[in-house]
């Protein structure tokens, strides 16, 4: 037993390939047999991943989901930012420039609209919960932008640790809701062509959420949504501790 464990831990990335492969096989099997293809296999796989991440986090007390379980440490590398970005860029292979140009302006507008709208929603909810300090309200609003913008903004304007943690949680909730919700609402919001995918990426912004949400909806849309989404966090970090904070400060 110990022998097997040693081998698995030493080759943890290979273990990750095998585990993820089996997970996807099971997910596609259920998607086909139980839902008759109505739910995308990758949507089930992503949901299983999130569920496993929850239990991993609860049992280990770590912050990397199932990757904190020693045997599954390789999932941390396989699903980490480096591999994710590498694969996202690869999806752009074969994309036609003309498709990108069509939604160019709408894509750029959607990035700014997305950051501002999410911020306002987050800030309003913070106020509803009784927060009256401008730094706190701004940080929670920034957390609703993404879980990176929250702490970057909070640290820049001197919010408390508790509020920064809260902003990360808000951003995590957002990213998970986008992962699960996108395939469910895709039809209703017209998310079925490259142009609306670019607008979608710009509005949602969470790279992980958009990456998984579109993968579960229609993998062909991934490069378009990812293209705009990757600018979102930068724009959020730009606006959060500056203009948005100044505006909130004017009221509180």
């Amino acid at each position: 037993m110990e022998l097997i464990e040693t081998v698995f831990v030493r080759n943890n990335v290979i273990v990750a390939f095998a585990v993820i492969g089996v997970t996807i096989w099971v997910s596609y099997f259920f998607a086909d047999k139980l839902t008759h293809g109505r739910i995308h296999g990758s949507a089930i796989a992503i949901a299983l991943g999130l569920l496993a991440a929850y239990f991993g986090g609860v049992t280990t007390g770590g912050n990397a989901g199932v990757a904190d379980v020693a045997l599954l440490g390789g999932i941390g590398l396989m699903g980490g930012g480096m591999m994710r970005d590498f694969a996202i860029v690869a999806t752009a292979f074969g994309v036609h420039l003309s498709e990108l140009k069509k939604a160019g302006i709408a894509g750029v507008v959607s990035i700014f609209a997305g950051v501002i709208v999410s911020f306002v929603v987050g800030a309003v909810i913070a106020i509803m919960f009784g927060y009256t300090d401008a730094a706190d309200i701004t940080t929670i609003g920034a957390g609703a932008v993404t879980y990176i913008v929250g702490p970057v903004t909070g640290e820049a304007i001197g919010a408390s640790d508790a509020v920064i943690t809260l902003s990360v949680a808000a951003g995590l909730v957002k990213s998970i809701v986008v992962m699960i919700g996108t395939p469910l609402v895709a039809k209703h919001i017209g998310l079925d062509n490259p142009q609306s995918a670019m607008v979608f990426g710009g509005l949602m912004g969470t790279t992980s959420g958009v990456a998984a949400g579109l993968a579960a909806t229609d993998p062909k849309l991934v490069p378009y949504g990812a293209m705009t989404a990757t600018f979102y966090t930068g724009v959020g970090c730009l606006l959060g501790p500056s203009i948005l904070y100044f505006i909130v400060s004017a009221f509180y």
């Binding site: 996807i24 990758s42 992503i46 299983l48 991943g49 991440a53 991993g56 609860v58 912050n63 990397a64 396989m78 699903g79 980490g80 591999m83 994710r84 590498f86 694969a87 860029v89 690869a90 999806t91 752009a92 292979f93 074969g94 994309v95 498709e99 069509k102 939604a103 709408a106 894509g107 709208v117 929603v121 909810i125 957390g143 932008v145 943690t165 809260l166 949680a169 808000a170 995590l172 909730v173 957002k174 990213s175 998970i176 809701v177 919001i189 017209g190 062509n193 490259p194 670019m198 607008v199 979608f200 509005l203 998984a212 062909k220 990812a226 293209m227 990757t230 930068g234 724009v235 730009l238």
Partner: protein
């Protein structure tokens, strides 16, 4: 050679990331501004260009499509390493803020998509490109 495509992909990502990082420094932002998006543009340019044919066609192209196909497995692994426990622990405020931000953003997708459909949108039907 398959590795030519992989190397091109790596080059695009590294170049994009460096530019994104430099943009972050220039804008005094503690984040990479669009590095991945810029890298994707480089790959789009390369795959639409005659000059890069040896790096994008045949077996070399296979090196890129392999990673493109690994996208969903990598995203599943990414989901499995999210800090879901912390999101659940965030309480009602975090939950409400996250859900409401997504709901409002979802509602804006059709509105902004329409905005993008200028006069050039007559050929909207024949999309669904690679």
């Amino acid at each position: 050679m398959m590795v030519y495509g992989v190397a091109l992909l790596s080059g695009c990502l590294l170049l994009g990331m460096v530019i994104g990082e430099a943009l972050g420094v220039a804008l005094r932002v503690d984040a990479n501004v669009g590095g991945v998006g810029i890298a994707m543009l480089f790959l789009v340019f390369a795959s639409n260009s005659e000059k890069f044919k040896t790096l994008t066609e045949g077996a070399a192209g296979g090196g890129i499509t392999f990673w493109s196909a690994m996208y969903i497995p990598i995203v599943v692994a990414m989901a499995a390493r999210q800090n879901v426990a912390a999101a659940v622990d965030g309480g009602v405020l975090a939950l409400l803020a996250g859900v409401a931000a997504v709901a409002v953003s979802f509602a804006l997708v059709p509105i902004l998509s329409k905005m993008g459909k200028g006069p050039a949108s007559a050929d909207q039907e024949e999309q669904g490109a690679a």
